[in-house]
Symmetry: C2
Subunit: 106 residues, 2 copies
């Protein structure tokens, strides 16, 4: 599975959100996601790890998962190829902003 599919799952994206607050053990995450079982959480974490989205620190029996940017950078690089296609939109935004500035409107 690649990083695109890794973030395609909404549960995994929610897990990234939780990990963005702070690092968590698997048990912490199981508590944060009462809808799904512990094995399901572990497997999601495996996918996230395999795609450079989280790292693990071993701490006795606990595994502490942390957000890692690598996978997201890969996604960002992919998107950047297409950014030229929304320069028009940005231009429009710039025009809109400068026009309103002239008019004294926020």
């Amino acid at each position: 599975m690649d990083v695109f599919s890794a973030v395609a799952d909404s549960t995994r994206r929610a897990m990234l959100d939780v990990l963005a607050e702070r690092s968590r053990t698997v048990t912490d995450l199981v508590t944060s996601f009462p809808n799904i079982s512990q094995p399901a959480v572990s497997r999601h974490l495996k996918v996230l790890k395999e795609n450079g989205l989280v790292t693990v620190q071993v701490h006795a029996q606990q595994r502490i998962y942390s957000l890692q940017p690598n996978g997201l950078v890969e996604l960002d690089n992919w998107i950047s190829k297409y950014k030229i296609f929304w320069s028009d939109h940005l231009d429009s935004l710039e025009k809109y902003l400068s026009k309103n500035k002239e008019n004294g409107e926020q």
Copy 2:
């Protein structure tokens, strides 16, 4: 299906690449993707359209598909939430670049 799943499919990403070169009819795209059938192409285009990744212009019996940035902007916005997590990496890149500049490389 959301925009994350829309770009999770490698064929759809390849279609975006082809459309990034220039707008195409469905038949053009079918030619560009000899591995898959015309109905498969049409369904991929439907997914891309539903997620703001392409637009369609009707031209007689032909449909001309063009890349549209909306869906990609949505993805970019999502990623931007996490960009703070790779500021360290960017710092490293800056250091790397400035170091090589000093050394007269590249």
